[in-house]
Chain length 344, copies 2
DNA sequence: TGAGCGGCTGAAACCGGTTACAAAGAAAGG
DNA sequence: CCTTTCTTTGTAACCGGTTTCAGCCGCTCA
């Protein structure tokens, strides 16, 4: 590894000048600048990031907090891969890297019953590593951990969890609009008795999808009897159970909007068990557009989230704050209705 | 952030002593050690990682190289999430974090037609950040980039790609054994005309699955006519196309072993199109046990990989080398036959 | 001609740790 | 009792950058 002093010596200038060439090029005379740049290129000089972070108290790293919640061992993020792709490419474009933080004491914390690894530990790590900010990924755990992050004062961007704090914001899909699209699509197909299987009440996207469903139904002049709203937990079995209870109603719905594809798949299974033909006797619409949606039988109509776009938006938001900008408003990315056989 | 000098002053000792308390505790007298430990605990002192990395030339970070190959835009890793969970938890247990490296110039590289981001750039970053080693994840690109990493001399562990180098090894499933299990299972179900749809020839796991298939067939005394071996690319469409060609044979197979679940799903689709009943007229076995496998109709018999286990093994291997240990031999994790309706 | 100013430059301090080295004190050996 | 050795400690150099500050130079303007 060539160091800045070697470059300085070779160019016959001081280390300060070399440093300036890379950080404030305009303050260095053209001749010296060009010499330094040429020599640096020839030797493939790259400043040592540890030294730079130490001196500037800034590193080109953004922390990723993604703790798999052991209380929900089966939890899987529905679109982690695309999210990471989006995050990574947007950060990369600004020269940042993503550090997947791990609480080394996680085993110990688990032993004492702490649910999500201690936010304090993460905040600490953020300082020690001079991270610019954090991206928080929903791990299916309670939101309390997220608020602790949001209030720490560090730049934080949460994905699919609504948080607020001095420098905290979040990114999610336009859940209200997506749900409304689902309703309009079903109404357009002639349905009037439309039920919904929601996500956990405490979850912001779930609540928004329910809101969107309700207001769109009202907009269409359709009533939503209380028994047409069944709460699930985003997982498949809950969708299956909810659908069973809907089918058992004296006046069962002819269509159901599910707040996640996983639950929609569960609903399809329940319908099949009950001998209901989809979409003729029951139309099903999901949310997410996970890979599975196109492959179940019948393929699932769903609201596609802009998965990579959410990652990009999260990266942009955190970088804005890192660079001293105002806290961006929460971002709601548009969803797209993908019509497949389950509602056609 | 409390610094080591503050601790030293408060304890009435030198900074060297404080440092030693954390790094070589036994060289410090019991009394001083206990004082320092108490004060450090009270102030929640944690050494600054940038400073430590600068001084020791070691950071507690392992790099993750996972470049989405733009020549294969649809490529998705079949089990990224589980892999990351395994990696993260095993690294975490040793106090390491995972740095997702991104080549900032990736857009530029793409413009000039460079395929995978330049290994040199990654190696450089490794040095600049004082990373201990690298974990390489197959991105569906050619293996040449991997060999460049392997020869760099850095501790490298590849997942599902066979590499060799002074400090490079790899982790994958026992593909030979898995394929053999598939064959024995099908033979046990009475099949004798068994075909296989392989992965890309250049891919080590694909080649191993084919080897395992061939030798198990030989072990059962069954012939494998050349037209019973069709090459795919792990993706679904290739599986579908391969199955079509197998069905069109004068003497079509009664069972097919596919080197990936994705291709097996394609094979199921082709069978359905051809009006073949699965498993009665055609048995299908896949490989991976992706989530989809349990959900297609009929559910897919497959060889489950120990996905998180592969992550754990990769982490262990890289840490062994980081700590100066011998280069571990390639690890082949056992697979498990999961029998579902597609072969029963 | 001299004061004032702006542009460049280098010396040196600093970021917060680790560690080589020397010294002091205690213990062991002759 | 003196020498040797071991243990413990502090001083100071060092890791490789950034940045403050002061000084030098050349120019403009009075």
């Amino acid at each position: 590894m060539t160091t800045i002093r070697e470059i300085a010596q070779l160019c016959g200038v001081s280390v300060a000048t070399v440093s300036r060439v890379f950080n404030q090029p305009l303050t260095v005379s053209k001749e010296k600048r060009e010499v330094v740049e040429r020599v640096a290129r020839e030797l493939d000089y790259r400043p040592n990031e540890s030294a730079r972070a130490l001196a500037t108290k800034r590193s080109g790293l953004i922390g990723l907090v993604w703790d798999t919640d052991h209380r929900r061992p089966g939890w899987r993020h529905p679109y982690l891969q695309e999210l990471l792709i989006g995050l990574k490419s947007a950060l990369s474009a600004h020269g940042y890297h993503l550090l997947m933080l791990a609480t080394s004491g996680s085993a110990a914390l688990r032993a004492v019953g702490a649910s999500l690894a201690d936010p304090v530990a993460y905040v600490n790590m953020t300082r020690r590593h001079h991270l610019g900010g954090l991206v928080l990924i929903d791990s299916g755990s309670d939101a309390s951990a997220f608020t602790a992050f949001a209030q720490s004062g560090l730049p934080c961007v949460a994905v699919d969890v609504d948080v607020d704090g001095p420098r905290a914001t979040y990114v999610t899909s336009d859940n209200v609009g997506g749900a409304a699209m689902a309703v309009r699509h079903l109404v357009g197909a002639g349905h009037r008795r439309i039920a919904t299987i929601t996500g956990p009440r405490a979850n912001r996207p779930a609540a928004d999808r329910l809101d969107g469903f309700r207001s769109a139904m009202a907009g269409e002049g359709l009533a939503v009897p209380p028994e047409y709203v069944v709460e699930g937990d985003f997982y498949r079995p809950s969708g299956q159970a909810a659908m069973r209870s809907l089918i058992a109603l004296p006046e069962p719905p002819t269509a159901v909007f599910c707040a996640s594809d996983e639950m929609a798949v569960g609903a399809l299974l329940a319908a099949r068990h009950a001998g209901l033909r989809v979409p003729d006797e029951l139309a099903v619409v999901g949310f997410d557009d996970i890979e599975l949606a196109a492959l179940v039988d019948p393929p699932l109509t769903t609201l596609a989230q802009d998965k990579a776009g959410i990652g990009v938006a999260a990266a942009r938001a955190v970088l804005t704050m890192v660079h001293g900008g105002e806290k961006p408003a929460p971002a709601f990315l548009p969803t797209k209705l993908v019509v497949r056989a389950s509602s056609r």
